[in-house]
């Protein structure tokens, strides 16, 4: 039986060899401790271009990620309680949700985060989905090299508990929030809802789009998210259930206050 340690070792060796052969970079020394090895593997996943890998690599990677994901609880929609009809609010790790689709806050290249060990959600999603996701992103992009802000594309979730990933590029705030950028944030939510509805998905879990690296203010982003989704659900009864999956207390409180206020 192969251990997680052996799988990790295999994956690190494979990816380092690839880098030696393709990019002529010296392999990094493999740390002795498990945490160091995990970080190194994570880093190698992040740096990898969208190119195919061997069948053996995919098999071992998929086993490795399956174990990794099962280190933490996997959450289903049935584990959550609706805060309003068709709307759920949940605080936790979006990548652990076993739902029809999670929303990835992508950048304009739409290939996932290439910054090694970066803390952004795009990075976590791509790392845990496996190398197949970046290849699927590339396929979804076709001839395009950049995606416009506010659009959405769908790919499978691969090793993630979620069946699909809906990728959208939210607006970046540069100096101040302008009306255009508010509209573009709303457009991102609408594009994701439209795509999920068209695909007949049963539920979609949103992160707080644009509020991380893209610096959109949390309170205004929450208002736009709730308003856009609520309007969409009112107009399209066949739309999927919505989970607002936040990862911090500030956002949780903002959403909770706003959703509970609207209900009364």
């Amino acid at each position: 039986m192969t251990s997680q340690q052996q799988r990790r070792q295999y994956l690190i060796d494979y990816l380092q060899t690839e880098r030696v052969n393709e990019l002529h970079v010296k392999p990094e020394p493999i740390p002795d401790d498990e945490a160091g090895q995990r970080r190194l593997l994570h880093r190698l996943f992040n740096l990898r271009e969208p190119v195919p890998a061997s069948r053996q690599f995919i098999k071992i990677q998929d086993e490795y990620l399956d174990h990794l994901i099962h280190e933490k609880p996997i959450i289903q929609k049935a584990d959550l309680t609706a805060i309003r009809p068709k709307i759920y609010l949940w605080r936790g790790d979006l990548t652990q949700l076993a739902v029809a689709a999670i929303v990835n806050p992508a950048n304009s290249r739409m290939l996932g985060c290439f910054i090694p060990n970066h803390h952004c959600l795009d990075n976590q999603i791509h790392t845990k989905a496996g190398i197949q996701l970046r290849l699927a992103d590339q396929q979804a992009m076709g001839d395009e090299t950049v995606e416009a802000v506010g659009n959405a594309k769908i790919t499978p979730g691969f090793n993630l508990p979620a069946a699909n990933v809906i990728h959208t590029v939210g607006p970046v705030i540069i100096h101040q929030v302008t009306p255009l950028r508010r509209d573009l944030l709303a457009k991102s939510y609408r594009s994701c809802m439209t795509l999920a509805t068209k695909k007949g998905l049963s539920e979609i879990a949103f992160c707080c789009i644009s509020t991380g690296e893209f610096r959109f203010p949390h309170d205004l982003a929450a208002q736009i998210a709730i308003k856009t989704v609520t309007d969409f659900l009112r107009d399209q009864p066949q739309a999927p259930d919505v989970i607002f999956a936040v990862n911090n207390e500030t956002d949780y409180e903002l959403y909770q206050q706003s959703l509970e206020r609207k209900r009364s």
Binding site: S108, V146, E147, A148, V149, G150, N151, V169, P171, V172, I174, T178, L180, R181, L184
Partner: protein, 110 residues
């Protein structure tokens, strides 16, 4: 007659509607480095008419009105800076016809 919608100017003359960027939009997106026109000539309001890769964002410019694209300023493909020009003869994006006049009338005056 010139009106505005979706951060764009819509300038009507003899049934042709010329679309260009408002100064607010130019400021918001920054310097445009690349312009790519969409292929569809029959556009509904909100459909993308061109993708602008600018310094501060990548923007799909939505059609401010439904209509038919009868001209594209393809000079922008080689020289996107023209979008920021003060000269109305060179800063336009597309020209539309077959526009519903009441939809145009409903836009704000520029």
């Amino acid at each position: 007659m010139k009106k505005r919608g979706d951060y764009l100017f819509v300038d009507e003359e003899n049934g042709t509607y010329t679309i260009s960027l408002t100064p607010e939009l130019q400021d918001d997106i920054g310097t445009v480095g690349y312009v790519e026109f969409k292929n569809d000539d029959d556009v509904a309001k909100g459909d993308p008419i061109a993708k602008l890769e600018a310094s501060k964002t990548v923007l799909d410019v939505p059609a401010p009105l439904s209509g038919k694209v009868v001209a594209k300023n393809t000079k922008l493909e080689d020289d996107p800076k023209l979008l920021n020009s003060a000269n109305d003869n060179e800063n336009w994006l597309v020209k539309l016809t077959d526009v519903d006049e009441s939809a145009f009338d409903a836009l704000k005056n520029a």
